[in-house]
Subunit: 199 residues, 2 copies
């Protein structure tokens, strides 16, 4: 069975960076929300992509130019969201069967339960999340601290809702994970290095 | 500032064993509930003990024969519990100022907040906790699985109540810890080794 690492994360807690660094350090595939969405939207592309993925020879980074991301729970009827979730779940299972990989978000720890993934969740205090979001220079870098806090809360509320809808479980509740890491004031590079050494 | 590691733990999740192994691997002091209680009950003994603890030269194991442990929240008026907690907190601060150490339970992560401890919490699923309790051959090893489950739930409920009383916080809530480790089906020896390598 392939080695699958899933990462759930609070917005701004560095989970995506941790996943990317882990995948690089372990020389395994890396998939995040945008990649999974792109693959799910373009069946032909995803077929071609999976044909190219060969166990033990990871692609360095996903080759597709990422455009505007596709928002669930917003302007989409529930039925369509469910259908999208089904397609994405299928894509994730294909990923897990194809090779070792790190998968960020998308309820992957539930979808891939049969693959016994190592399930990580990253979180941090608000101060640290605001600082990390500002450092990263995202599209919201002009936000005041207060606006950034509101944005972080809104994104996390959406993640929590999405998780509850598809898993009937509480997002970030420790029982669903193997390791929960508080990244407040810590270097993700350093955490990734330590984790890669121990996994 | 000394390196302080605190471990909160669900009953049967192996937190005490993890702490003991970590302390051994890192060559630092180890304190658990019973040791702290004994020291708190015997002022003269604790003075002598702390005189003997020298930074960088840990005692191998606590030298006192441990008798029946002292139950809070049970047959003790609240005022007395509070007084005991104060004495124990003083003892823990003395420990933290004296040398690097691992401290199990006793709300240590709150009491020693100023020492910026590395705060671990261990937990596990019920099946795994029952199995671990039976393996350890405790005084309850003759319990049926159902009795053991009830015992585990009762002890954890007591810990949760104790924690809420002295910290006004939720026991096991991830915000209060740096790392939460799910020990279900895992070897504590193995976890301790990996942790000791990375801390």
């Amino acid at each position: 069975m392939n080695r699958i690492i899933t990462i759930g994360r609070e917005f701004g807690s560095g989970g995506r960076e941790l996943g990317r660094r882990l995948a690089e350090a372990l020389h395994i595939e890396y998939y995040d929300k945008q990649i999974i969405e792109e693959l799910a939207k373009h069946t032909e592309l995803s077929k071609k992509y999976f044909q190219e993925v060969t166990q033990g020879q990871p692609h360095h980074l996903f080759p597709i130019r990422i455009g505007r991301s596709f928002h669930y729970m917003k302007n989409h009827p529930l039925e369509q969201s469910h259908a999208v979730f089904q397609v994405q779940s299928g894509i994730m299972k294909e990923m897990a069967e194809k090779s070792d990989c790190v998968i960020i978000g998308r309820c992957a720890e539930f979808v891939l339960e049969d693959h016994a993934p190592f399930r990580i969740f990253t979180y941090a205090n608000m101060e640290s999340k605001v600082a990390r979001c500002k450092e990263k220079g995202s599209e919201h870098e002009h936000f005041s601290d207060k606006e950034m806090q509101q944005h972080i809360k809104a994104v996390d509320a959406q993640r929590s809702k999405y998780y509850a809808l598809y898993t009937s479980a509480v997002w970030g509740e420790k029982a669903h994970y193997d390791l929960l890491i508080n990244t407040s004031g810590r270097s993700i590079k350093d955490i990734a290095k330590k984790l890669a050494d121990t996994i």
